[in-house]
């Protein structure tokens, strides 16, 4: 499918159009110029013929006779062979000489009318039958003895037309060829000069909030392209600053909120434990405490995400077996799944090693399983798979639960995003669990992806760099069940 709006195509089309226009103007002027030149040459030749006949032959006429004149003219010009027309008229005695019919019989000399008075000493054009035209020049001459002659000499346009026709044919054949060559060349040149833009586009596509420190290649061409790449880089710099600012802000805000929240919580806990008398008051304090706990959790999560995003969290990285970690974590959470009669199954290839922070990665698995438990109705199934794919360690947590609506899918990792506000609030989440998962994955140079069909279930897939120690021979890959 050709995009007719593309710059490359439009410029090529303009280029081809201009070239074709120029060629047409050039061709037309060559054609007209040549036509006029040939016309002029033909006329000159006829004038010269008339003059020669008049001055060299007719001047001797009183001495010689008409037969001599005919021989002389036939010898000099061979009008029948050359397709010429020659007529000499003595105004008192009638036609003295008339050339014969040309061998291609394009005109009949006997039927050519005599020139009118105004056509004397000039040229006229005659049309014969199917497009044969004849140019005739006539000249009058008065001999010293008082005789008046009219000398006429004519030649067909035919030859000029052959030349012009040939020229036209040449144009018709070569012009499309030259233009298409120019189109191909122009298209290629445009592609070459737009190549750097393509490169910039590809790199710009790859820049997201997690790698804003990267910059685009600057095209050192000293023109619009260089300015474009520099401007884009400046824009990324500003974005980078803005992101950093936001991160800084949420980290500072959550940090500042921590202390007063802790104090509030301690005070309330003290009250809850010390009051003995009033049951209603105890209930109110308890309710306040529950909300305080929820608030602390949100603040803690926010702080964690902001610090992870800012790269401020020191990862305690060690080599660990992702399968084992998943197995122990799933084991700890089995009871939670059983509470809702959910099946929790694990398939882990042995020896899937990653370099990571044990506690953080465990948090990833915990949050994903917790998420699946929350959104899978009673009797459902949760499956955890751990394996190596290429140079990726893959952890996948799938369920056959409620799924995520397509419109919500791109947002599930955003902070405080909840696809179904009412339900999620009831199940106690603040909408930060998956954001934490994403931040932890990013901090491990990994990625998290989600796929889901509403009503059929969801699948979260974590990809982490696999340590090269892992030897994946499928034959010996034992599956573990918890």
């Amino acid at each position: 499918m050709i995009n007719t709006g593309s710059l490359r195509l439009r410029i090529t089309a303009w280029y081809a159009g201009l070239l074709a226009g120029t060629l047409i103007v050039f061709g037309a002027s060559v054609y007209l110029g040549l036509e006029r030149y040939l016309d002029w040459t033909l006329q000159r030749m006829l004038v010269a013929e008339c003059r020669t006949i008049a001055t060299q032959l007719l001047s001797q006429l009183p001495a010689k006779d008409a037969a001599w004149l005919a021989t002389e003219i036939n010898e000099a010009y061979a009008p029948e062979v050359n397709g010429l027309f020659i007529r000499v008229v003595d105004q008192s005695a009638g036609v003295v000489y008339l050339s014969g019919a040309p061998k291609d019989v394009t005109f009949d000399p006997g039927r050519i009318p005599f020139p009118r008075d105004k056509e004397m000493d000039g040229s006229r054009k005659l049309q014969f039958g199917s497009g044969n035209r004849l140019l005739i020049h006539s000249m009058t001459l008065t001999t010293p003895d008082g005789n008046r002659f009219i000398v006429e000499s004519g030649a067909p346009y035919h030859q000029i037309e052959v030349v012009l026709h040939g020229l036209l044919l040449t144009f018709a054949i070569y012009m499309p060829f030259v233009v298409s060559l120019a189109v191909a060349g122009g298209y290629w040149l445009m592609r070459r000069s737009l190549q750097p833009v393509d490169e910039i586009t590809k790199r710009a596509e790859g820049i997201t909030s997690t790698n804003l420190s990267e910059r685009l290649p600057v095209i050192r061409s000293g023109d619009e392209l260089e300015r474009l790449s520099i401007s884009l880089n400046r824009m990324i710099q500003r974005l980078d600053n803005a992101f950093e600012h936001i991160n800084r802000f949420s980290a500072d805000a959550s940090h500042e909120l921590r202390t007063p929240l802790t104090i509030l919580q301690l005070e309330l806990e003290g009250m809850a434990q010390n009051h003995r008398s009033d049951a209603a008051l105890g209930d109110q304090i308890g309710s306040a405490l529950e909300e305080t706990h929820r608030m602390s959790r949100i603040v803690e999560s926010l702080l964690t995400i902001s610090r992870l995003d800012a790269g401020e969290v020191k990862m305690d990285k060690s080599h660990l077996d992702l399968g084992e970690l998943a197995a122990s974590t799933a084991g700890e959470m089995k009871l939670l799944a059983e509470e809702k009669s959910l099946g929790l199954h694990l398939h882990a290839e042995p020896g899937v090693l990653v370099a990571g922070d044990r506690v953080r990665l465990q948090q990833v698995i915990v949050n994903l399983i917790d998420n699946s438990i929350k959104y899978t109705p009673v009797g459902g199934m949760i499956e955890i798979r751990v394996g190596g794919e290429g140079n990726c360690a893959v952890l996948q947590v799938s369920d056959n639960g409620l799924g995520i609506p397509a419109h919500a899918l791109p947002h599930v990792f955003e902070r405080f995003y909840r696809a179904d506000k009412a339900r999620s609030r009831a199940s106690g989440g603040a909408g930060l669990g998956l954001s934490i998962v994403k931040a932890i994955c990013a901090a491990h140079n990994g990625e998290i992806k989600v796929s889901s069909q509403e009503g059929r279930g969801s699948s979260f897939r974590v990809e982490l760099p696999l340590l090269p120690v892992f030897a994946n021979d499928g034959a010996s890959a034992a599956l573990r069940e918890i």
Binding site: L268, E269, A272, Q273, R276, G282, D283, I285, G286, S287, A288, L289, E290, H293, R297, E300, S301, E332, M333, L335, L336, E339, V359, R360, Q362, Q363, V366, N367, D370, S427, G428, G429, G433
Partner: protein
Amino acid sequence: MRVADLELDRLAQQVRRAGKRIDLTAKEFSLLEYLMSNAGRVLSRTMIIEHVWDHSFDGITNIVDVYVRHLRGKVDDAFDPKLIRTVRGVGYSIGHGVQP
């Protein structure tokens, strides 16, 4: 360790109530052990999670409640008085005669 008629033997990993032996899973055992070694004190869910599980389980809403419910089913349901007490908003404590 002993709270009322509930006994916990760390070395033998055994629990008895009113002389009857009770089977607990490893997690239930550590939970009970933590509650009993702080008998009379109210332990918050966060404290319980960090002690019995670890920090990464914090934030999961009801893991402590689920385990306490299972534990109650084994050590409290068939007996009187009830020993494990819920303090709304705070957490749990074990000890007799504090509050019904």
